[in-house]
Symmetry: C2
Subunit: 430 residues, 2 copies
């Protein structure tokens, strides 16, 4: 039997405690699967005095996380500090430079420095695992890198942020508005005190950039992601979505187009016939289209100490057993640099909601604006009549280019019968 794999953990927050708990609770199973013992030899965290739900056993305590990364008796460092720079980056870089494999759940770090870190790992002949950085416990990166490795991927998309999915699910079920549901989610611990990272789509964009990199063998390019969050989704839109046979979800999507690699995160209308439309609450799901496998969907918990620990330990087991593909599926030096398809070149169908004066001729003006930009209307709904208030008019379009849609909306917004900025939600016919 191989000698034990000696592990250090930097960061003992919720996920760190989850990983320690898993190492202890399933020790016999892990040894069986890895063909060797896994030993926790050192840990580090900000506050040694803090009470933790796990016993750290004989692991040596280090106040300085970076010190862990160069300990001679450590083979593998698990980085669970978080953040795209600062101490987390220093720990990972130092560990790799010292010839230690690294496993991390840090999506921000990988989204910003993934290609550079993977190159360093390969130069040093060690592994860099980040399964836990995307979609929590769902083994989606392994599925892309190995499970469907024989396929050319055409598209990948997913519900990548549990906070947003919880808020949108609650808005639909309780017919309340965004602000009220967000407040409740914060009270329940499903949203942070400063929720912007989640609800403005940044977290989902980090994850999408990693998914896209692995799916297309492309150097991770976070700045190429077009990002919109869910602040502007209203109860009215959710009710119309229901009527039209859709659910609104925050999706991250990446696909190859004639203009290059398109990467975007924004609210989408998804038809109820798609099983991903039924993924509710804090669950995540990822859909992949491959040229041979067709469409596959993976669903599971996208966050939380235990699911994330499961993904961290999957990487650790691969490293312990000496197996596994490179983190991005191909050697870092072989990653492509595909052109970035701009969002203006996106083609798709659109949902548009307008708040208009209820007066004859209004629809004719809107229809003329669409016609002038060659945007073809699929259906139109107007509910409610009012001689004093604005009333909603909803329309969906056939497939069109986004630039044309935006020009048509500029024309529509200029009409003096249209009282608020138009709301546009892209339709994804999954």
């Amino acid at each position: 039997m191989k000698p034990p794999l000696r592990i250090a953990i930097a960061g003992l927050g919720t996920v760190g405690a989850g990983v320690v708990g898993l190492l202890q609770k399933n020790a016999a199973l892990l040894e069986h699967r890895a063909g060797r013992k896994l030993e926790l030899v050192a840990v580090s965290s900000r506050d040694r005095a803090r009470k933790r739900p796990v016993d750290l056993g004989s692991a040596a305590w280090h106040d300085d996380a970076a010190a862990l990364a160069s300990l001679p008796n450590v083979d593998l460092v698990i980085e669970l500090i978080g953040g795209s720079d600062g101490i987390a980056r220093k720990v990972v870089t130092t560990a790799l430079e010292n010839g230690k494999s690294v496993v991390t759940a840090n999506k921000a770090l990988l989204a910003h420095h993934g290609a550079e870190l993977a190159t360093l790992a390969e130069r040093k002949g060690v592994a860099l695992g980040f399964e836990a950085a995307v979609a929590g416990g769902i083994p989606i990166l392994k599925a892309l890198r190995e499970g469907i490795a024989a396929n050319r991927v055409q598209a990948v998309c997913g519900i990548l942020n549990g906070t947003c999915n919880y808020i949108l699910s609650q808005m639909r079920e309780t017919k309340r508005d965004f602000a009220a549901v967000l407040k409740e989610a914060q009270e329940l611990g499903y949203a942070e005190a400063d929720p912007s990272f989640d609800i403005d789509g940044i977290d989902a964009a980090h994850k999408l950039s990693l998914l896209a990199a692995v799916a297309f063998g492309n150097a991770v390019d976070f700045n190429a992601v077009h990002v919109e969050g869910i602040r502007h989704v209203t109860a009215v839109d959710i009710a119309f979505a229901q009527e039209l046979g859709y659910r609104i979800k925050l999706l991250g999507l990446a696909r190859l187009t004639e203009h290059g690699l398109e990467q975007r995160v924004h609210p989408c209308m998804i038809p109820l016939s798609a099983s991903i439309a039924h993924v509710e609450g804090v669950f995540n799901a990822v859909v992949v289209e491959g040229d041979f496998v067709g469409r596959i969907t993976l669903e599971g918990r996208g966050a939380g100490a235990e699911p994330t620990a499961s993904a961290v330990m999957a990487d650790v087991l691969d490293i312990a057993a000496g197996r596994g593909a490179p983190g991005f599926g191909v050697p870092a030096t072989a990653l492509q640099h595909l052109p970035n398809a701009p969002i203006a070149r996106h083609t798709g169908a659109y949902y548009i909601r307008l708040m208009v004066v209820d007066r004859p001729g209004v629809i004719a003006d809107i229809a003329a604006a669409l016609r002038d930009e060659s945007v073809s209307m699929e259906q139109m709904l107007q509910h409610g009549r009012s001689s004093v208030d604005a009333v909603p008019v909803v329309l969906t379009t056939h497939v069109t280019e986004e630039a044309a849609m935006v020009r048509a909306l500029d024309r529509i917004q200029a009409l003096n019968t249209v009282l608020e900025p138009p709301r546009m939600i892209r339709v994804e016919n999954l």
Copy 2:
């Protein structure tokens, strides 16, 4: 770069042609992923004259499939002949004995001889891959063996037979009866001329026995699977399921219970809130419960040349790259032999449909029979009145042991107001 991996394919039916097509179409990608070339050096099939949709290039033709398995210039044999014994078994055994790795889509062979073949492969130091044997293109075995390898699996279940799922989906959508939909499925090529292997649940049971073996590290035990097919599912039951908030699906389920490993294949009532309830047509899906990851679901095409070829080539790539866990997740010699939990010890909720005389006191007699066996009723529905014909009475129970349920049904069937054998469908609250 490593020398090319030299491949022989035994069996050139639909899947075999799909694998040849994938080897050719994605040759550059495969080489990139494997770090070496993949070369098709030899093929074998029953009928050389048959027209095939692919060009076999320079591959040597052998009329005798078993001859492929001992060719000195072959590193890996892909077995796509099928069948639990006969020539397929001979090809696989011979290849392994000659120190060649084997990849197969043959669920019947593995269900009957899996433990023996895995032992032989390990003794010879070669790999035995069978991802394609379960759920077509869905990389579920890799997910179990590696993606969630740190978890103790508590349960695994799935829609494992596309023919049955297509028939049940069509029955629901078109409100037709089993026989009519089966006939149409046969005309469309979704069901075989002799459909019994699929509709009686044997195919799903083969797959379940493999899933259970990998999920629980248990020696595959096909004979331990309790099997019921879908012949007895009627349009009436499907309509009642809809009314009660369920869909009827043929599931394969395995879980650890206090009585041992429970393995069963039968029609189930699944609540509409479960995303697997929305997996329709020829798609397959598998749900796994792990102690850390919680519930994950994988969905995709369960059959067809291209998805199956995708799974076959995933195994080939793992072998070519020198990575991957043992086929059953742990060494064959370390597989457990868990006791087989008998179906009579199963505990769960039940849907019961009775055809009764519409007369006062009938329900009281039924309720008394349930009470006498300590079966607790959850709800009861009776639609339609008739003074001449039998009318359906449907009831659901709280969780009870199957043996008690069966005794209660024996009492109920003995009532002279109950005109047909009761129909029982297990409820799975996924």
